[in-house]
């Protein structure tokens, strides 16, 4: 093998992914070739540096926008497929009734119209009506979120998590349902989505404590990393001891340990 062939193995070598035989051959070569040794040292610094580049934080809206579009697209596809077969009002009503998002949208719009009408009729009643409207919409959102989170189907539970973005920050019922989902849902994707949705409750000490405690309960490194990222994003300095013990524990997944160390450095 030529120097160039050995050098093509560098990235896998730094990642610890080389087969034993290739690793031994590369190390033997490095021991005898000063040029490759110097290059390996200087480029290892670049490779490791890339691993330290901070990940950008996603916008809050990414997930919400996706689900809204998916819902609309799906509805459009189903409508166009079924359009040829049905024309009755009853079928349209049934299609509408099966979609909580549309129900809420229409209900909220009707409430808003009702509110505006009331506002015009009697100005003195506006603040009472406004608070009633808010409370009714809030209750509906909470109801939809909690009921979707309890569904058998993972896709429905994911939609429930998305609804959690629309509840008030003070909604402790949804907060505790989300924490329950993070700790007990059987589906990794639902757990990941629930971790993200906890951003809504970022100011709550209960939420932060719950997130820190959830790390140890996870069997999925992906969810552990998502929890660590969220704690770092929320700048939860009180989570540092949990993160430190995670970073030190040899039984922890190496990527999770690395992420915990990164978060500790970020919190300092």
């Amino acid at each position: 093998m030529k120097c160039e062939d050995y050098r093509a193995l560098f990235p896998e070598y730094w990642e610890g992914g080389l087969e034993e035989e290739d690793r031994a051959a590369l190390e033997l070569h490095l021991a005898s070739c000063a040029a490759c040794r110097v290059e390996a040292d200087s480029l290892a610094r670049i490779w490791q540096g890339l691993g330290r580049l901070p990940l950008a934080l996603r916008g809050r809206d990414l997930r919400r926008r996706f689900y809204e579009k998916l819902e609309a697209y799906q509805f459009g596809v189903e409508e166009s497929e079924a359009g040829a077969q049905r024309s009755g009002l009853w079928e349209s009503w049934k299609a509408w009734w099966s979609r909580p998002a549309l129900q809420l949208g229409v209900s909220a719009a009707m409430l808003a119209i009702g509110f505006l009408a009331g506002y015009r009729v009697d100005d003195r009643r506006d603040s009472a009506q406004l608070s009633q409207l808010r409370s009714e919409v809030g209750n509906m959102r909470q109801l939809i979120t909690l009921s979707l989170l309890e569904q058998q189907n993972a896709t429905d539970r994911l939609r429930g998590v998305t609804w959690a973005y629309r509840v008030e920050e003070s909604d402790t019922q949804v907060l505790s349902a989300l924490l329950h989902t993070i700790n007990h849902d059987s589906n990794v994707n639902v757990r990941l989505a629930a971790v993200d949705a906890m951003r809504t409750f970022g100011n709550s000490p209960i939420a932060r404590r719950g997130l820190a405690q959830a790390i140890g309960k996870q069997d999925s490194p992906m969810v552990q990393i998502a929890l660590i990222d969220m704690l770092a994003e929320l700048k939860d300095f009180e989570a540092a001891p949990e993160l430190e013990s995670l970073a030190r524990d040899p039984k922890t997944n190496p990527e999770v340990r690395e992420r915990a160390a990164w978060a500790i450095a970020r919190l300092r």
């Binding site: 670049i46 890339l50 809206d61 990414l62 689900y67």
Partner: protein, 183 residues
């Protein structure tokens, strides 16, 4: 994905939950703009919906998804070329205040690490697009070399050589920016 192709569109939510973080980071590393990356992630998933009939079950989903992501990125880069100068100026503004003259050893270490990260990000921006792309796929997306080979349509051996060459090119730009001598 096979179920999405057959018309169970709700299943796309599961693919979205599994892949949107990685895709978002792919775009942010490619273009440095989180808001734009947000839009591009949406674009990828809706191209997946639109072109779901063309998905081939025998191929890994991630390879197909990243091929779409590369096309989305390419289309966007064409649109964006004229705005590049503006982005570079914004980046200059984001550098923040200078470090104080006198620092403790810890603060000095932290400052030098920050500077290294800044230079590395700058070097990554200056890297030709194809090299930047292969580094992002291999270093940030947790993709195996055979998966990258499937995305790029080349042999695994070629991926290894290209990852190494891209790292070397990045190193040269980095050391130049840092005023250090490259090996």
């Amino acid at each position: 994905m096979a179920q999405v192709r057959e018309g169970d569109l709700r299943r796309l939510a599961i693919l979205f939950e599994r892949h949107h973080r990685a895709l978002f980071n792919f775009f942010v590393h490619m273009n440095g703009d989180p808001d734009l990356s947000d839009d591009l992630v949406q674009d990828v998933f809706f191209r997946i919906l639109r072109y779901r009939a063309s998905y081939d079950n025998r191929r890994p989903f991630s390879a197909w998804m990243y091929q779409i992501a590369r096309n989305v990125n390419l289309d966007n880069a064409r649109k964006r070329r004229s705005e590049l100068q503006l982005a570079a100026e914004a980046d200059e503004d984001e550098r923040g205040p200078r470090e104080p003259v006198s620092m403790t050893p810890d603060a000095e270490r932290a400052a030098s690490r920050r500077e290294e990260v800044r230079l590395l990000r700058k070097a990554l921006e200056l890297l030709p697009e194809d090299k930047r792309e292969i580094l992002i796929l291999s270093r940030f997306q947790n993709l195996k070399y055979h998966e990258i080979a499937a995305i790029l349509g080349c042999e695994v051996g070629a991926v290894k050589v290209r990852v190494y060459r891209a790292t070397r090119a990045l190193g040269q730009i980095f050391f130049e920016l840092a005023g250090e001598k490259a090996s």
